[in-house]
């Protein structure tokens, strides 16, 4: 008696659940991704050593207190809006980088937001910001990259 042959089983890979996995991963990425670009400015720091004597070579000094901004050698008090206008008048963009250096000197009690507003205003006016290192006596010295 001839035995009936079994029909060979067809090998199949189940791919139905792949799309489910893919969509779950999509949901994960959508929830964790950050599409917002940060807002800010690039701060240019001049090269040079931390030498207080360098201050004479720079064109501008801005002293920052928690309430006001003091502009130039004469320490002229002004608001941020006035500072923006003044910096615009200086036309720093047209000057060579060495003459665009602005020292922003903040007292120890100045909150970061105040300093940030001054620094961003200077950066927007194409100023190159020189950092100030506070000494033991509280006197600042212009510093930059060593």
């Amino acid at each position: 008696m001839a035995l009936p042959r079994r029909a060979p089983k067809e090998a199949v890979i189940e791919i139905g659940s792949f799309s489910d996995i893919a969509f779950l991963m999509n949901i994960f990425f959508i929830l964790t991704a950050e599409f917002m670009r940060p807002a800010g400015v690039n701060m240019q720091i001049p090269s040079g050593s931390a030498d207080p004597g360098k201050r004479q070579d720079t064109i501008l000094t801005i002293n920052v207190s928690p309430e006001k901004v003091f502009y130039g050698e004469k320490n002229e008090p002004m608001t941020l809006e006035e500072l923006r206008k003044r910096l615009l008048k200086e036309n720093l963009r047209a000057k060579p980088p060495a003459q665009r250096v602005v020292i922003v000197d903040a007292g120890k009690d100045v909150p970061y937001e105040r300093y940030f507003q001054v620094v961003t205003a200077v950066a927007r006016a194409h100023g190159v910001i020189a950092l100030v290192e506070q000494t033991e006596k509280g006197e600042g010295g212009a510093g930059g990259r060593p």
């Binding site: 791919i15 792949f18 799309s19 893919a22 969509f23 991963m25 999509n26 990425f29 959508i30 964790t32 991704a33 950050e34 670009r37 940060p38 807002a39 800010g40 400015v41 690039n42 701060m43 240019q44 720091i45 931390a50 608001t79 941020l80 809006e81 923006r84 903040a106 007292g107 120890k108 009690d109 100045v110 909150p111 970061y112 937001e113 300093y115 940030f116 507003q117 620094v119 961003t120 205003a121 950066a123 927007r124 950092l131 100030v132 290192e133 506070q134 510093g143 930059g144 990259r145 060593p146």
Partner: protein, 135 residues
């Protein structure tokens, strides 16, 4: 004479390409996502009118409201910041570091951070929040 009934058409939605679309979306997200390691550092961004949208720098430093310094989402001291930043940017073409500082932190805390970054020889990208009416 009896009329033959037509066989009913079965309605089907072709879903075979859904998986392909999903995988294409995954590839897009994988290429564009940067996982936010710095989210754990809670701080309030300072406000300014003079800032604009910028490209996300790969290296970031944060100073939280207590003055604690974080490099790439990990706590570090101000003293070790210079070396840490130098190492982090060593393999990168762009020597740009994003700096986020809490708006209330005082100069005696953020001043040394700026100097350390300056000594590390990097360009600093200061990050804040766009203000409209603030002075």
């Amino acid at each position: 004479m009896s009329i033959k009934r037509r066989a009913r058409l079965e309605l089907t939605v072709p879903t075979a390409s859904m998986g392909d679309i999903a995988f294409l979306l995954i590839i897009f997200f994988l290429l564009t996502t940067s996982f936010a390691k710095e989210k754990q550092v809670k701080l309030k961004n300072p406000l300014s009118r003079d800032i604009y949208a910028m490209k996300e720098p790969p290296v970031f430093v944060s100073v939280d409201k207590n003055g604690a310094v974080w490099l790439q989402g990990r706590r570090c001291s101000v003293e070790s910041l210079e070396e840490g930043v130098k190492t982090a940017v060593a393999t990168r073409a762009q020597k740009l570091v994003k700096l986020r500082v809490d708006r209330a932190v005082r100069q005696e805390q953020y001043g040394p951070v700026f100097l350390a970054l300056s000594r590390a020889g990097v360009e600093i990208a200061l990050v804040g929040q766009q203000a409209k009416d603030k002075d």
